[in-house]
């Protein structure tokens, strides 16, 4: 286990990730400069453009820290470099963890469990996580130009009528996803050979923490907590798991 963790936290992995992220950061700079210049050219006020930069930077600071908490949560099993890469580009914490779990089971593990992992399984899991999220990029790469052109030609059609099922479809899909996982924790907690109540207890603590955050956000108007509710609930539940580990 120690060997696996030191392998996936190797200095060379950090270097590879740093190079990839440097490329994407440079790309962001190129877009930023190009659009800034275009804004000036079409007569936009430079003060407005500068304000966009400062307001976006401050707006992003807090949610970025919550992503960092996600890196900590993921790094315990997948190491810091891969977690750093995955949460800096394309995905989000919930996608990465769910896909890592699916990939772990697909390579024959019982789940994303440290004692079952080795570096060969790790690279397969990393590949599923990477390729699995490329769908959005694929659609953008091939269809963005045509799609935006079409939308701009028929702007009224976009605004009329009640919203379609699309907006609800993603929510429904995630409800189903959560139902399957929670159902498996309930099944696992039933006393019999090989049962384990820990996942259910951890899920319950996370749900209680999340419920408290939801109450604070919706009833007490603490909207700023929204950025942290998921990562913080997870970390509270993970801390509880350490406590349960000592008792059980």
């Amino acid at each position: 286990m120690d060997n696996y963790l030191s392998q996936v936290n190797a200095a060379s992995f950090y270097l590879i990730v740093a190079v990839v992220l440097a490329f994407i950061t440079i790309m962001c700079f190129v877009f930023l400069v190009k659009c800034y210049k275009a804004g000036i050219k079409i007569g936009m006020d430079p003060a407005v453009l500068k304000k966009t930069i400062t307001s976006s930077a401050t707006f992003t600071l807090l949610p970025s820290i919550s992503i960092l908490l996600g890196v900590i949560a993921l790094s315990g099993t997948l190491g810091v470099p891969l977690s750093w890469l995955r949460l800096s580009v394309i995905g989000s914490l919930q996608y990465e963890l769910n896909v890592a779990e699916i990939a772990a089971q697909s390579v024959g593990l019982t789940g994303l469990r440290l004692e079952e992992l080795n570096v060969e399984l790790f690279v397969t899991i990393a590949l599923v996580m990477t390729v699995g999220i490329l769908g959005g990029l694929f659609f953008t790469l091939f269809f963005l130009k045509k799609y935006l052109k079409k939308i701009r030609q028929n702007p009224k059609k976009e605004k009329s009528g009640k919203p379609g099922f699309g907006a609800h479809a993603t929510t429904a899909m995630f409800v189903g996803l959560c139902g399957a996982y929670i159902g498996s924790y309930i099944g696992k907690a039933v006393p019999r050979e090989g049962s384990d109540i820990m996942p259910l207890l951890v899920a319950i603590v996370a749900a209680i923490a999340m419920a408290v955050f939801e109450i604070l956000i919706q009833k007490k108007g603490k909207a700023a907590l929204e950025n942290f509710s998921l990562a913080a609930s997870m970390l509270i539940a993970m801390a509880a798991a350490v406590g349960f580990g000592m008792i059980l």
């Binding site: 590879i16 950061t25 877009f31 453009l49 790094s75 699916i102 060969e120 269809f143 479809a169 159902g183």
Partner: protein
């Protein structure tokens, strides 16, 4: 066509070119990373395991990606879309950030000005996130021995239940009518067929399909 329109058309085309080239390059580089990781230790991703995992992931996330693309691309515009889909955290960060910037700038939705603001906003947001995470990772490195302590093993082994406990509460509270049947059925299945417990990667497919079907029926009946 006025001078301004001509310039904007040229600008838009050049943004598409830049976006496509950098996006394609990013896709190739990111896909290579696991192979390079493996090459360092002389191992290779397992093709069969990859395919089995990818099919399950694609069944869930391809439709989600399509919906996100259709809904978010018009809000983000050309540059904003390329950057957002590469740098991720679209729903929880890039969209609110771009909307907030457009609000502050007071630009009209769909106008060239609004697209420029959106791209500048998304680019800034992505750069700031990268920097914050880099700073965090630098701080995290010395903490490695603490994080790898045997005592913390239950915490990291239960990171997935922690995620779905929190996420479950959020989504079940949002759509209790959709949630009841999949949750009860999946629990019953795992209680009575214990071999399904470690097959959540398979279970999520019928459970997701069932939730989608229930959602669709409720939507048609105007009950959502």
């Amino acid at each position: 066509m006025t001078e301004r329109e001509k310039y904007l058309e040229q600008f838009n085309n050049s943004l598409h070119r830049l976006g496509r080239v950098t996006m394609l390059l990013s896709m190739i580089i990111l896909t290579l990373v696991p192979f390079v990781f493996g090459a360092i230790y002389g191992v290779f991703p397992d093709g069969k395991g990859f395919l089995a995992g990818y099919i399950k992931v694609a069944m869930i996330y391809l439709p989600v990606s399509l919906v996100e693309f259709l809904v978010y691309a018009p809000m983000l515009g050309v540059g904003g879309s390329y950057l957002s889909f590469i740098t991720g955290n679209v729903t929880n960060m890039k969209i609110p950030c771009a909307m907030n910037a457009q609000d502050i700038a007071g630009t009209e939705p769909g106008s060239a000005e609004s697209e420029i603001i959106s791209t500048i906003s998304v680019a800034t947001s992505a750069i700031v996130t990268m920097l914050v995470i880099v700073a965090g990772v630098v701080l995290l490195v010395p903490l490695q021995p603490v994080l790898q302590n045997e005592m913390l093993l239950p915490a990291f082994n239960n990171v997935v239940p922690a995620l779905f406990g929190a996420l479950g509460l959020k989504y079940f509270a949002k759509s209790p009518k959709i949630a009841v049947i999949p949750l009860v059925l999946m629990s019953a299945l795992c209680i009575f067929v214990p071999s399904m417990i470690n097959q959540t990667s398979v279970l999520i497919i019928p459970s997701g399909a069932l939730a989608l079907a229930i959602g669709f029926i409720l939507f048609k009946k105007d009950m959502l």
